[in-house]
Amino acid sequence: MRPIYFKYLTFTALFLLLHFGTVFADSEVLPDTENCLYCHRYPSMGRYDESGVKRIFYVNDEKFARSVHGKLKCKSCHAGVDKIPHTDVKKVDCTTKCHIREPSTDKEFSHINMVQKYETSVHGNGSKEKPKPFPEDLPTCKDCHENRIQSSVTGLWGKSEALSNETLARCIGCHTQKDWAQNFYLHFTHRMRRTRSQPEIIKLCTSCHEDSQKMARHGLESVSTFKDTFHWSLVKYGVKNAPDCISCHVPVGYTTHDIRSRTDPMSSIHTLNRIDTCSNQGGMQSCHPGATAEFATGRVHAYGTKAQLAAGMKVATFEDHENFRLLERAEVDISKDEIFHLKVLSLIQLFYKVFIPLVIGFMAYHQWLDWLKIIRTRKKRR
């Protein structure tokens, strides 16, 4: 048997094994000490809220038990909810301490470290002295972490070489409680796997970043410019390891919670770090092994509105708030070199924009006349 088939077979067997493991795990579901399921076990439970959005309040306890937060009590995250109906309910705050002791420090666990880091990143609220405008546009934890209870964690097995049944088997050697070992293993290997495919990542990022009005409020342009690249074509053709947003903006060794502006030296796409991002990410991933400094100065996204505004190819007026804000940012962001490149690029584009219709138009005109001539001469002959 060829080793590749053997590999697939092992993974399939492992997948099935894990799958059965979770189905038959009866001790998984925690007892409902808060008695929330008294009401929330009914699948029809839900309503339309004031804005007309359908809200479902049904909780499938088995699926919940298998989710990342399966070991938590409901009130650990949903503060309030002491009255019925729940008029006192507060929005879920991920910085709350959730009454689980983290074994390595023996402190109560909370996501606050991550949130603090996140607040200083491009997506955060900014500092207290200098808060960002339009805070309602900024993504919060839940905008990306949908906590997809429905998706099966076990289905991701075999997508990373860091995960193997051998490793898990070693854990189970000491940690004889298989369910616990498996859960813990899944928990700490979570960051070694991709939980979203490339199109899913692009869909998630573009759900905000393609909204040009929302972006313009923050001096940004739509990232539809990505769709003019070979990287996008590779994603479209479903290539394994095709580069999506995080491949370059959050390469190996960086975190999604700490994405920086490209002018920040800590950013993976800052000119100083770009060679590494293209050629060798933390010694792990190398897409363009021979990339040089010059290679890395090439543009990955096509030039968008911002560069066009800076180059004076588009004019922003005071009434045109969107573009005016962009122009303000463009003056800082777009260098003179880039303006020059854009001009050369547009010159090439302009040449073909004129040349193609001119040549092809003339040819089509000639062929059309030729065709008419033939038809008319034929009619005459009859």
């Binding site: 070979f230 996008w232 074509s233 590779l234 479209k236 053709y237 479903g238 290539v239 363009h288 092994p289 021979g290 990339a291 040089t292 010059e294 290679f295 890395a296 100065t297 090439g298 543009r299 490149h341 050369v344 690029l345 090439i348 584009q349 073909y352 040349f355 193609i356 040549v359 092809i360 040819m363 089509a364 000639h366 062929q367 006349l369 030729d370 008419l372 001539k373 033939i374 008319r376 001469t377």
Partner: protein, 288 residues
């Protein structure tokens, strides 16, 4: 050098020599390579299109099609280099050596022969384009009389010539971007992508609208002009497209009395119900 009869007579019909075996071989190779390149390239330019994935899968999908594209591209570049050598060689053999023999060799003379070479565009081409438009618009009844190579054929030749130069250089640059950016600026990759992709569109449109119509779909040649296989052109097409050259060749080959009237002008005998030399009999008609 190969020798060819300028006119071949077969079954009472005259055929006019156009292309050598070498040229025909170059053309067929070019045709195959260009079609493969268009089919493996366009799906990358339009990955969203409904046909993109289907065409791509014919060439083995994303894992194999790019390899096919690069192989075909390399072969086309090699063909182009071969053609350049061929050009220099034939020019040397056909034009420079005769000059040498006449002891008239000088740079000015060589330049002059180069400019007056039949494949190089000249003033007559512009006149012919204008006159052809006049003819097609029913402003005149006289079709321009084409020389050895008409302006249409010059388009057919110089279009791909320029196209391969652009496509080849930009393609090689994008293929070996890490290597080339060791000594070239990185923005060139962006410029190359735009030029490669737009030039490809131009080439493909040119091929389908211009060349395919002229040699396949035009009613005079439908379903195809066989000259690219046989190397010889029929008398009808010769009269239609290259009348000036036709008269020249017919006179030189000893058929000055058999020169047909220009395209669109009928023989006086067969006009307006005149009696035919050989009336058609019922038995001549094909059985149904």
């Amino acid at each position: 050098m190969e020798t060819h009869f300028k006119i071949k007579v077969k079954n009472g019909k005259k055929y006019f020599f156009r292309f050598t075996v070498n040229q025909r071989f170059q053309h067929i190779l070019l045709a195959i390579l260009v079609i493969v390149l268009v089919l493996t390239g366009m799906p990358l330019k339009f990955p969203q299109a409904f046909w993109a994935h289907q065409i791509y899968s014919v060439f083995g999908g994303i894992r194999i099609a790019p390899f096919v594209h690069k192989t075909a591209g390399t072969m086309l570049v090699l063909l182009f280099v071969y053609h350049l050598i061929y050009l220099v060689y034939t020019f040397y053999q056909g034009q420079v050596i005769p000059l040498k023999k006449k002891n008239e060799l000088s740079i000015g003379k060589i330049l002059k022969t180069l400019i007056s070479h039949p494949i190089v565009p000249n003033l007559k081409d512009i006149k012919d384009i204008l006159n052809l438009l006049k003819y097609l618009l029913f402003l005149t009844n006289k079709r321009p009389e084409g020389a050895v190579f008409t302006w249409k054929e010059k388009f057919d030749y110089w279009g791909p010539f320029w196209g391969i130069a652009i496509m080849g250089s930009t393609g090689l640059l994008m293929w070996n971007k890490e290597l080339f950016t060791k000594f070239l600026p990185g923005e060139l990759i962006n410029f190359a992508l735009i030029a490669h992709s737009d030039e490809a569109l131009l080439a493909a449109l040119f091929l389908f609208i211009w060349h395919f119509y002229n040699v396949h779909f035009s009613t005079s040649v439908f379903p195809m002009d066989t000259v690219f296989i046989t190397g010889y052109l029929s008398e009808k097409m010769m009269v239609e497209e290259h009348y000036e050259y036709y008269k020249e060749i017919m006179t030189a080959s000893g058929y000055p009395h058999e020169i047909l009237p220009p395209h669109g002008v009928r023989k006086p005998e067969s006009e307006h119900g005149a009696v035919r030399d050989n009336p058609v009999k019922l038995t001549d008609l094909p059985r149904i």
